[in-house]
Each structure stands twice: as C-alpha cells, then as structure tokens.
C-alpha cells in the first residue's frame, strides 16, 4: 500500500507541477494585459462583435486554422517580415479578446494575422473563397462555393452583390451571390489588422 501511495503522489505531482508552471503561471502573468491606444484614439485590439464575431466563428468551424496561422514570428526567425506578413512579432496582447486564440500550427497557406492590410479588397476575398484558382492559379485551398448562392440568370441586370468573374470563370447559367455567412467571413478577414504598435517584447 505504501508503494502504491508514493507512486500515486509521484504521478499526480509531476503533472500538477507542469500545470501550474505552463498554464496557471502564464495565465497569471498575461492576465493584466490591457488594450493600447492607437494614434486615432481608439483602443487596440478591439473585441470582435457583430458580423466580425460571426465571421470568426465561421472561420473556426470551417477549419481555416488547419492551413493558416495567425501569428507573426520575430524578425530573425523565418521570413515572416520579409514576406510582408507583418511588421512586428505578434504579442500576447494581440489576443486578449480571442477565446480561444486562433494561432494555428500549419502554413499550408500564408499567415493571416494582417491579411486585411495585405488584401483589403472585398471582391478579391469573395472570388478567392468561391474558388481560389480564380485569384491564385495552382492554389490547393479548398473552394467554399457552399457559402454562395446560385441565382438563375435572366436578361435583366445582375443582383448588385453578384460576384464579378473573369471571363474564363464566368458561369453562363447563374449569378453567384454571397450568403450572409460569406459576408461575415469576409468582414472577419478584413478585421485582421495587427499593425498598431506595442512596446516591448512578448
């Protein structure tokens, strides 16, 4: 019984210690972080609300994270800065409103921490999500056509938000219109801008 008890103590203590060290202490260390003031007087980062929050949710449940990271590495580590993915390393403060943070561990596609800066065009994102090949030949990102609705073509004018395809991708029978989910997802992508400055290293 004595041996069993010491085994039990050893087993529980080893895991409990690491929980304190790797989870509770960082949580306590990072908890006091507060948003910073941008030059225009607003606070950064902003908590996602409305369609941005909805879009974040869609990003999460379509699993974009399994191909896209949202973290810029330090300048001497990899080529994130040279690729134009960010101007500074991502800081814990950037994620204080993110529950959970969508940091990602894979870069089958590019980092998206600052995609709003790099690619501000709404229509680009819609075409790209509809079928990535349109904007990025050879891409292996999946098409998200199910986020768009097909409207049979008539002789009249297209709906005002219909996608404007390049000729070789034009669908002669339908116009394609973004659903609310597609709009929310693009709203979210266009909110991803972490270029405000933060003092100090993480």
């Amino acid at each position: 019984m004595n041996r069993t008890f010491s085994l039990l103590i050893g087993v529980v203590l080893t895991v409990a210690a690491s929980f304190v060290g790797l989870v509770l202490i960082p949580d306590w260390q990072l908890d006091p972080l507060e948003p910073v003031e941008a030059p225009d007087g607003t606070l950064r980062p902003q908590a996602p609300t409305g369609t941005v929050a909805e879009g974040r949710d869609i990003y999460s449940q379509l699993g974009c994270i399994y191909c896209h990271s949202q973290q810029v590495r330090p300048p001497d580590f990899g080529s994130d800065h040279d690729r134009g993915w960010g101007t500074r390393q991502t800081h814990p403060l950037d994620h204080i409103h993110d529950e959970p943070p969508l940091l990602g561990t894979m870069r089958t596609g590019p980092d998206l921490a600052n995609i709003a800066v790099r690619q501000p065009s709404r229509s680009w994102h819609h075409l790209h999500l509809f079928n990535p090949i349109i904007t990025s030949p050879g891409s292996n990102m999946p098409p998200y056509r199910f986020l768009y609705e097909a409207v049979p073509r008539t002789d009249g004018a297209p709906p005002e938000n219909a996608l404007d395809f390049p000729p070789e991708f034009d669908d002669p029978d339908h116009w394609w219109v973004p659903t609310d989910r597609a709009e929310a997802l693009v709203d979210y992508l266009l909110s991803l801008d972490h270029t405000y400055s933060i003092e100090g290293d993480p």
Binding site: R3, T4, L7, L8, V11, V12, T14, V15, A17, S18, F19, G21, L22, V23, P26, D27, Q29, L30, D31, L33, D57, Y59, S60, Q61, G63, C64, I65, Y66, C67, Q71, R73, F77, G78, S79, R83, H91, P92, D94, H95, I96, H97, D98, E99, P100, P101, L103, T105, M106, R107, T108, P110, P137, G138, N140, P142, P143, Y144, R145, D201, P202
Partner: protein, 504 residues
C-alpha cells in the same frame, strides 16, 4: 492450427515442469476468460473507429492535392474532415484500443480476474456514443478550432465521466495484484490511468469553460495536446512493449533499474515539454525555452528505454520471422526511439524555425501515433485476441498482408512528407520563393501520402476481416468457456510464458 502464426518457432519450445506449467496455464486462461467480453468490446469498436478514421484521412489527404474533390458539401470540407479524422483516430481508435489493452495487461500483471463487467460495458457504450455524437458535431454543426480538443464540451464531459469507470476497474485490479512486486508495465499503466483524466478535465475547464484568457489558452491547449501523447498514449504503448517483448522471447527484461529511471524521467520531463509547439509564437520567451529544455532532457528516458528493449532483443531477432506480435511490437518500439529523438531535435529553435509550420510536423505526428503507437497496439491485438477467444488466427497470409501494407504505407507517408516538409520549411524561410511555387512543389509529396494512406487503409481492412473471422468462429464454437476447451492448443503456444515471472 496455423503454426506459422504461433508466437514461437516449434523448435524453440523449452521443456518446463509440466505440472507447474499446467497450473499457470489454467490461471491465465481464467484471467483471459474474465477479460473476454469487455476487452473484446473495446478492441472491436476501436477497430471500427480506425476504419472510419482512415476513410476520413484519405478524404482529407486527397483534398490537399485535389481541392475540388467533394468540395461542394460543407460537412466534407477539408477543415471538418481533417478534424473528424484526428478526433476519431485519437479518441475512437487510439484511446479505445488503449483502454482495452490497458485492462488486459493490468489483469495479467496483477494475476487477477477482471471484474465489474457491466460497468465496463457501460463505459464502452458511453464512449462510443459520445465519440459518435462528437464526430457528428464536427462534421455537421459547430466546433471551436482548438486542436485536439474540438469535441463539444458536453462530449468531453461524457468522455470524462466514462473514464472514471476505467479508473475504478484498473485500480481494483492493481489493488488485488497477487505479488508485492510491481512490474514495469504496471507503473506506466498506473500513471496513464491518472494522467489522462487530469489532463482532459483541466484542459477542458481552462479552454472550453474559459477559465484561462487569451494566449494562456494556447499554452493550456499544447500542455494538453502534448501530454496526451506523452503521458497517455506513450505509457500504454511502452507498457505493451515492456510486456510483450520479454513475454514472446521468454526472457526477462534487460534491466529493472534502467526501466525505473526511464519511467520517472518520463514523468518528470514530458510534462514540461508542451510549449515546444509554440516556439516563435506570441509568448514570453521563458515558456518556450522551458519546452525546449524539457525536450532535450527527454533523451534520458528515451535512451534508457531503447537500451533496455534492444538488450532484451539481442540474439533473438530471428524470432521476428515467427511472431506477428513481436514484429509489430518491435516495429513500434524502434519507431518510439526514432520519433522521440526526432522530436527532441525539432524542439531546438533553429530546427523548429524550419519545421514548425510544415508537413514535416505531420510526418513526425504519424511516426509517433502510427509507426509507434498504432503498430504496438496491432501487436498487442495479435497476442491478446487468440487468448481471449481461445482460437488461433485463421490466416497467416492475411496477417502478413496487414503487416506489410501498414509498414510500407507508413514508410512512404513518413519519408515523403519529411522530405517535402523540410524543403517546404526552407522555401518558406526564403522570401524570394513565391508562395504558390511552394504549393506547387508540395503536390507530388501530398500524393505520396494518399498512396501510403491507401496502403495503410488496406491493412486496416485486413485486420478487420481477421477479427471478424475470429469473432464469428468463436461465436459458432462457443459452448462453455472456450479457453478451457482449447487448453492443449494453448499449452503449445504459451511455453514462453515464464517471462511473466520476471520483470515483464
């Protein structure tokens, strides 16, 4: 009887005292009979999840090189299928088969019969229903992208509650062990049974119930995801290796003291390594440094385990020809050394700079979860099931097909993605290489994974056929406890059981 599937070559049969042997055989047969129902339930449902997980895996794999494949159905979009793959193979296949093997090993090592059958069936059914419901949610409904913890919180709660049953039964066995001595495998199993629920419950509380904030959720995430590998699957895989290698060879493990050192250094260092998944990420630097240091310290348990297993095997490698158990287990044990050494190196900042965001990590993941853990579990199945059902495997050819398809499949998978992934990392780190050129470069390597994965899946189907034949045959013959009826045959395949008296 299919001689070629027996665990030892007939010529190697030693001649122990027949009476003592008979007593041992009867006792073991009684233990095996007590395990039959519940352990077979866990093993068979686990293999069903392996088939489902493999199907999802191939879908995910094909989508990466042929993105139009099944792309118009939202439930089958890459992000959902990939997540369903991970969760079905981790919680469905790996955990369920792990529980089955754990219970049987614990019963054998304690020399006690397995009790609480109704409780175990309830746990098995609960786990299966929870995993099915959770997988449904991943494909058709909402989930949060927290890697390894995507199941909805109510699924997690059911799995957590169910696991209490496993703890109860496992501790009951441990308490009733007939010898004071604790075998090496028993420490690992004892540890795993406590570690998993602690990890799983705390991680779900911190993340899904929002007890941590911001980036601390990410450290909680990787504290869990790394530890579930290192102190849940790894101990079960090692316990199996520590049990079966001496068992099949009929000789004791090389050194008891080395195994002690191996166990406690694993418990100490594995726990602290999780933050190596976040190197270069937005964390205070001390956190990832701790992860790197602990990863280097992991060389200690890994080398001790490698020496111990190798020294036990030395001079007996020819037995790999006869014993399917040994073949799979030794394949697993060697992969364990390889994956751990690789992992420690990947935790170095300069290496991780290249490998982190690439398919190199995915190759390492499958070297661990497949070449080590899954192959070790296949080995355990080949030893356990004939004893549980009291009959021999119906076909040596099918076993051979199973071994070679999975071994060659994972070899293709691993080499293809390791090479492609490393180059991917190098190109990503040179901003002069256009991103689309990297995508283009990887396509053939992604195809090689689909090829390897198809071979592996053929192996899984073969295993399912073998198990189906065994189960059907046993049902047809079942009149009274099959184990006693089969005794003469069992004497033939159990002569190496003396190993159990030692530190096996």
């Amino acid at each position: 009887m299919a001689d070629r599937t027996s665990e030892t070559p007939p010529s190697a049969t030693p001649k122990p005292d027949p009476d003592a042997l008979r007593g041992d055989v009867v006792r073991r047969a009684r233990i095996d009979a007590s395990c039959r129902g519940p352990v077979m339930f866990f093993v068979l449902t686990a293999v069903a999840w392996l088939l489902i997980g493999s199907l999802l895996a191939i879908m995910a794999s094909v989508k990466m090189h042929t993105p139009e494949f099944l792309s118009d159905l939202e439930p089958l979009t890459f992000g959902r299928v990939r997540t369903a793959h991970l969760n079905t193979v981790i919680y469905g296949w790996s955990s369920l088969v792990g529980i089955g093997v754990l219970l049987w090993l614990q019963a054998r090592l304690s020399r006690s019969t397995l009790r609480f059958h109704k409780l175990l069936y309830a746990v098995g059914i609960l786990w299966n229903l929870a995993i099915a419901a959770g997988t449904w949610a991943l494909l058709f409904s909402h989930f949060d992208s927290v890697e390894w913890l995507e199941f909805p919180v109510w699924t997690a709660a059911l799995l957590g509650v169910g696991f209490v049953g496993v703890m109860v039964v496992s501790l009951d066995l441990f308490r009733r062990r007939s010898k004071h001595h604790i075998f090496v495998s028993q420490w690992y199993l004892f540890g795993a049974v406590f570690w998993f629920p602690i990890l799983y419950v705390l991680a779900n509380l911190m993340i899904h119930l929002g007890m941590a904030t911001g980036v601390a959720m990410a450290t909680a995430n990787w504290w869990f995801a790394h530890n579930v590998l290192g102190i849940w699957f790894t101990p079960i895989g090692l316990a199996a290796a520590y049990y079966f290698i001496p068992k099949v060879l009929g000789r004791p493990i090389h050194s008891y003291y080395l195994s002690l050192l191996g166990f406690w250094t694993l418990a100490l260092f594995y726990n602290w390594a999780g933050t190596h998944h976040l190197i270069g990420g937005p964390l205070p630097v001390w956190l990832t440094t701790v992860g790197t240091v602990a990863s280097m310290m992991m060389f200690i348990p890994v080398i001790t385990v490698a020496i111990n297993h190798h020294m036990t095997m030395v001079g007996h490698f020819e037995k790999l020809r006869y014993s399917p158990t040994l073949r799979f287990i030794v394949f697993g044990a060697m992969s364990y050394t390889l994956v751990s050494a690789q992992g420690s190196l990947m935790a170095l900042r300069r290496v991780n700079e290249t490998t982190h965001f690439t398919h190199y990590t995915v190759a390492h993941a499958h070297l661990g979860m497949y070449a080590f853990f899954t192959m070790a579990m296949f080995g355990a199945i080949y030893y356990m099931v004939p004893r549980l059902l009291g009959r021999e495997w119906p076909s040596a050819t099918l076993i051979r097909i199973h071994f070679w398809t999975t071994a060659v499949g994972i070899f293709i998978y691993f080499t293809g993605l390791s090479w492609g992934g490393w180059r991917q990392g190098e190109m990503l780190n040179h901003d002069t290489v256009d991103f689309l050129a990297i995508v283009d470069y990887l396509i053939p390597y992604l195809w090689s994974r689909s090829l390897g994965g198809t071979l592996m899946t053929i192996g899984h189907v073969t295993l399912a056929i073998l198990l189906w034949k065994m189960w059907r045959g046993a049902e047809e013959e079942a009149q009274g406890p099959a184990v006693f009826k089969e005794e003469p045959a069992k004497t033939k395949i159990l002569p190496t059981s003396d190993g159990e008296e030692e530190d096996s």
